[in-house]
Subunit: 310 residues, 2 copies
């Protein structure tokens, strides 16, 4: 139930990290682009197939050591429906390799519309009596600004189909405080949102103490990470901001509980673009370099956090 | 600039409404579905083509009297990338007929990721030196929970390409108050968000007093609509909640300024499903019935608001 499958994979691999798949075309090695442009044209289809080929090569190198991937929807939508098709195929490919897939789409709406997003990204769509999975990730990031009407439709799908969500609580960006840090009766907006996560989570409890409603909390605000970890006992954290955005293992360690669980740390550019940051690394080894960086990150965080136990 | 093209169309047609295109398959007449399932199969492709055929027929009946359409992304994503392709083709079809297109996707993220959404939905994607439009609506709904980092990338595209955004301020749903009505130093969260809209709008001023940064404010909270109209002088409103959600012309009239401009009122199910709500109406006339309801809605609101002047 809930986020338990993710937690089990993390403990099994002793690796609390997720590889972000945010494939801008600029990040894709030239030889892949050349091949795809030749085959599909220098158009959205060629671009989308470049992303897919890039992702598949990364997944092939990562799936046995990294428990999860997090494709970011924006980078696929940028390449039109062809890009969204690449997102769909990336999710399927990663799941077939046994990875846990978190679609980072920060969706939000109300009632039947939110139900449509829940169906799209976590459920199955009814087409004249046939149930067909559209994207069907394992978890989805969402924005809770609209309150319970925007979250309840997701809880239903999470309960029925063993899926999870991550609600934006305290984001990693510099301006996140403009609204999130403001105080409502002495409590910040992000604390309020965190408490709502705890309350929404009661409907989708998990067996390791964490519910199916997780929270996004940025690595760039370590004190808030520590504060939220102690207050939100049943809320699992998805932590962006490690690496490229400036967070380190000493920052993210506050996201974990005494058993070394409670969070999954994301790195996107750090892994995808590892080969560009290493002296002497060559383009054709981009996936091997990504694996090496994923191992380095795993060990970096494991050293700070210690063993992960269920 | 900004939302001026929308305002001009509203005044020209003396119609401050937008037709929501939220085509659940259940709303699509049987004869369309039969034709598409036969041609493409009872699968996501067949479903997506049903939506597209439905939308095109509605647009054909509406484009000369309704200034804008608002496709809701969730209902397309529900049918996979095939559905997203139908969204893309719907946008193109409506624009070719001269309609103003607001993609209701409530996107939100930060920095380069938000830039990717901005490029996807309002801009043009660079593919190896070629600029290709992916979805390219005229305006996009967005969620401002992440602060300026999530809005600035949009302002750039709005300025460069004459586009607009609508930020969620006070949504129409029952639970919207859980966060939005809470008070920060005596001011509600939605007021704070509204003030941020005013401030973001300064970068994309328009010639009729309204900036390129609009706000979503629900028809179901008429007092707040009135309060926000008086406080947010340069912020144009997109108002959901008329009709099916319970708002009437006497509620939405508070969204307009003394010149009868300042807002566009949405109706989705009311228009799309008009034929199902009228005694004696038959399925094959769904588009004509939609037009009739659009005319009724226009006149209803025009009676309450008066003439619209630039």
């Amino acid at each position: 139930m809930a986020l338990d499958r993710l937690i089990e994979k993390i403990v099994q691999m002793q690796n609390p990290t997720v590889a972000g798949l945010d494939p801008k075309l600029d990040y894709v090695p030239e030889f892949i682009k050349r091949e795809c442009f030749e085959k599909y044209g220098r158009n959205l289809e060629g671009a989308a197939n470049s992303l897919l080929m890039f992702n598949k090569a990364l997944i092939d190198e990562l799936y046995d050591i990294v428990p999860a991937v997090k494709p970011q929807a924006a980078y696929y939508e940028m390449y039109g429906w062809q890009g969204v098709k690449a997102l769909c195929e990336t999710i399927k490919y990663a799941k077939d390799k046994g990875m846990y897939v978190i679609t980072d789409a920060k969706r939000n709406d109300i009632g039947t519309t939110m139900q449509a997003y829940a169906t799209a990204h976590l459920g199955a769509t009814d087409v004249d009596g046939e149930e067909i999975e559209a994207f069907s990730a394992d978890a989805l990031t969402v924005n809770g600004y609209l309150g319970s009407d925007g979250i309840n439709p997701l809880l239903k799908v999470c309960g029925e189909r063993d899926k999870g969500i991550f609600v934006l609580v305290k984001t990693s960006n510099p301006s996140s405080g403009e609204l999130q840090d403001k105080k409502i009766d002495g409590k910040t907006v992000y604390e309020n949102m965190g408490e709502m996560c705890e309350s929404w989570g009661e409907a989708v409890k998990g067996k390791y103490g964490y519910s199916g409603v997780g929270a996004v909390v940025g690595a760039t605000y370590p004190e808030m990470l520590r504060e939220l970890r102690s207050k939100l006992e049943h809320t699992f954290f998805l932590v962006p901001g490690y690496g490229a955005q400036g967070g380190g293992a000493d920052d993210v360690k506050f996201a974990f509980d005494k058993n070394g669980i409670g969070a999954v740390i994301n790195s996107s550019r750090g892994i995808m673009c590892a080969w560009t940051k290493k002296d002497g690394a060559v383009e054709k080894d981009f996936a091997k370099e990504a694996r090496e960086e994923a191992v380095r990150m795993r060990d970096d965080i494991r050293n700070a956090v210690g063993e992960m136990k269920l």
